[in-house]
């Protein structure tokens, strides 16, 4: 007797719940991420030429990037202003959303010779952390297939010390330049840009 009553109550509750908006949290996520599309593309997949794709990004890195740009510790252009517009909670919501989005890479024009040299350098200096696992899997840090002008800007920020928010990258670049020219950095960029 009791079981049947509980069953009915349960069904009533399901009926009520299913008539609510699909998912209140989903609505909140969209309201926040809708405005990113105009520069970063749908689902964070940018069609370029320079604004980076942010789909598939690791959540912790997204949050760090936004917080560091908000304070100005990490150099940026419009993001220094835009990141200010959101609370930490909202940034975490956006991070979770973009992390779930599939990575798509568009073809870029690159120099074959540079990309060939870059591959060798990548294997020696970068592949330890930036493993390229294949087309569908997002990278530890989204680099392969990222827009080359953006990679160029970021590498220069790390090289020059204007961005000191990633000690690992700062020392990696410093280490690289001990035995390689700055032109070689360009080879790596072409290698990453050649990845599809």
């Amino acid at each position: 007797m009791l079981y049947r009553e509980i069953n009915y109550v349960f069904l009533v509750l399901i009926g009520i719940v299913l008539n609510f908006p699909a998912n209140a949290t989903e609505a909140r996520v969209s309201m926040l991420t809708d405005t990113c599309i105009a520069c970063h593309g749908e689902k964070g997949v940018s069609v370029g030429p320079a604004t980076p794709s942010i789909s598939g990004m690791r959540e912790s890195l997204f949050i760090k990037a936004m917080e560091d740009m908000k304070t100005g510790k990490r150099p940026s252009t419009v993001m220094a202003i835009i990141a200010k517009g959101y609370t930490s909670r909202e940034i975490a919501i956006m991070a979770a959303y973009f992390h779930k989005q599939p990575t798509t890479r568009y073809s870029q024009s690159f120099d074959e010779e540079k990309a060939r040299r870059g591959k060798v350098l990548y294997e020696q200096y970068c592949s330890g952390c930036h493993k390229i696992k294949g087309k569908r899997k997002p990278l530890s840090n989204k680099v392969a297939g990222q827009w080359m002008p953006y990679l160029r800007i970021r590498l220069e920020e790390l090289r020059s010390g204007r961005d000191s928010t990633s000690p690992v990258m700062t020392s990696a670049v410093k280490n690289f330049l001990k035995t390689n020219s700055e032109e070689s950095l360009e080879d790596i960029i072409h290698f990453y840009g050649s990845q599809k």
Partner: protein
């Protein structure tokens, strides 16, 4: 024989109602009709999001033109940096992918009681909700001796397409040593930094092709968007402020009258006389005609709305987005229209379900390309504030590019401007 207690009956009835209403909402009920007037930055996005987010809504988009030319980035066509075809887009992909019913016609009147829209062809379209995203119209009567019949002689190019081509051709035909006048109307107008980006792009074209030529801005206003940044760029690139300056800016100098025959214009209180080889008159503006003529605008010439949902303050079940509406602190820009279109779509969906929406959040970034390697921007994040009932800047997230930034910084903002353009149009038309 089964014993049906009151408790059991109520339980079954509630479940039945729950199931039936779900069934009704998603499967059995006739589709809800949402009609959108205007296939621009606001209307296209509203149409896409309504279709995408709710399969029970039948979306109809009414647009007079088969081809859409983006007014944003059209200054680069004037500057010779891109072709007119590069800013041209069509509606086929979007309408097929999202099941949007396209009607290529002009909306001429709205019957808010009958909830119908009458088209120029005579066709009557019914709606449950109407989105009006008509852009701007020009106050032809504001300038003596000037009206719509003069737009090929003195193009505004403030709606892109044939106007852009006409103005570009006039610039190409102009002899070296000639002058272009850009007459800027009093604020508010569509695209606040637009006239100054235009002056920059034309000056850049002149610098490389007709170096003795000049751009003269006759401005009704005494200040403009990103002014310090434009001036920094003009000084660096176009000798601004020097004897051989390619750009001159005359503030507080509104256009008063035009003598078309002699190609002379008169500005300001004392009717100063100016003449030029190319005259780009950007007329004063108001909301698009369909809004003005159908009771959606107030004395200001713009459309008051509930700034949370974009429903008109003057007509029920009609929503206004984009340039035509009064959206608090948001500028009249394509990015704003894009942002508003999404919020509006969600508000309409919620209104059908009789629930509220989450607190709206908006953004805007306006890029201006002052030179091929000199880009500047202004950005903001906005929220609806319940206290004032208006959209305001959120957490002080508003600002422009820094002054005296490095050449690399300025160059990067050009690349980002192009990226913004590509991502905006990709979202609109693919």
């Amino acid at each position: 024989m089964s014993k049906l207690s009151r408790r059991h009956f109520l339980g079954m009835a509630a479940t039945g109602i729950g199931a039936a209403s779900l069934l009704g909402y998603y499967i059995l009920a006739p589709k809800k009709k949402v009609v959108i007037i205007g296939g621009g930055a606001g209307g296209v996005i509203a149409a896409k999001y309504l279709s995408k987010e709710d399969s029970t809504i039948e979306v109809t988009l009414i647009e007079a033109n088969h081809d859409y030319y983006t007014c944003f980035m059209s200054n680069e066509v004037l500057g010779g940096r891109r072709t007119i075809d590069s800013i041209k887009f069509g509606y086929d992909k979007l309408s097929h992918k999202y099941g949007i019913n396209m009607i290529y016609d002009k909306a001429v009147s709205i019957d808010a009681n009958a909830k119908t829209v009458r088209l120029q062809s005579g066709q009557i379209i019914e709606y449950d909700r109407l989105v009006v995203s008509p852009g701007v119209d020009f106050k032809w009567e504001a300038i003596k001796g000037y009206d719509a019949s003069l737009i090929e002689k003195f193009p505004h190019a403030w709606k892109a397409g044939s106007q852009t081509v006409i103005l570009r051709k006039q610039l190409e035909a102009m002899k070296d040593g000639g002058t272009v006048i850009i007459a800027v109307p009093a604020k508010p107008f569509r695209c606040p930094p637009g006239p100054y980006e235009r002056a920059s792009q034309i000056a850049q074209y002149f610098k490389q092709n007709k170096p003795k030529s000049k751009v003269l801005i006759l401005d009704a206003n005494n200040s403009f968007a990103k002014q310090a940044l434009f001036i920094e760029g003009w000084k660096k690139l176009y000798a601004y402020g020097r004897a051989n300056s390619m750009i001159e800016w005359n503030p507080s100098n509104p256009l008063v009258s035009v003598d078309a025959e002699s190609r002379t214009i008169y500005t300001g209180e004392f009717e100063d006389e100016y003449s030029a080889d190319v005259i780009n008159i950007i007329p004063p503006q108001r909301a698009g005609k369909i809004a003005i003529e159908n009771g959606l605008a107030n004395e200001s010439g713009w459309c008051p709305i509930n700034q949370r949902t974009f429903e008109s303050s003057l007509q029920k079940d009609i929503y206004v987005i984009g340039d035509a509406c009064i959206a608090g602190s948001m500028p009249k820009s394509a990015y704003s229209a894009n942002s508003q279109g999404k919020v509006c779509a969600r508000a309409i969906i919620a209104s059908f379900k009789k629930v509220g929406i989450v607190d709206p959040s908006f953004a805007n970034t306006c890029y201006s390309i002052v030179g091929d390697e000199f880009g500047v921007s202004v950005s903001s994040v906005y929220r609806y504030q319940a206290g004032t009932g208006t959209i305001k800047v959120s957490h002080n997230a508003a600002g422009v590019s820094p002054l005296n930034a490095s050449p690399e910084y300025r160059k990067s903002e050009v690349a980002y401007a192009h990226s913004w353009y590509n991502n905006m149009t990709h979202e609109m038309f693919y």
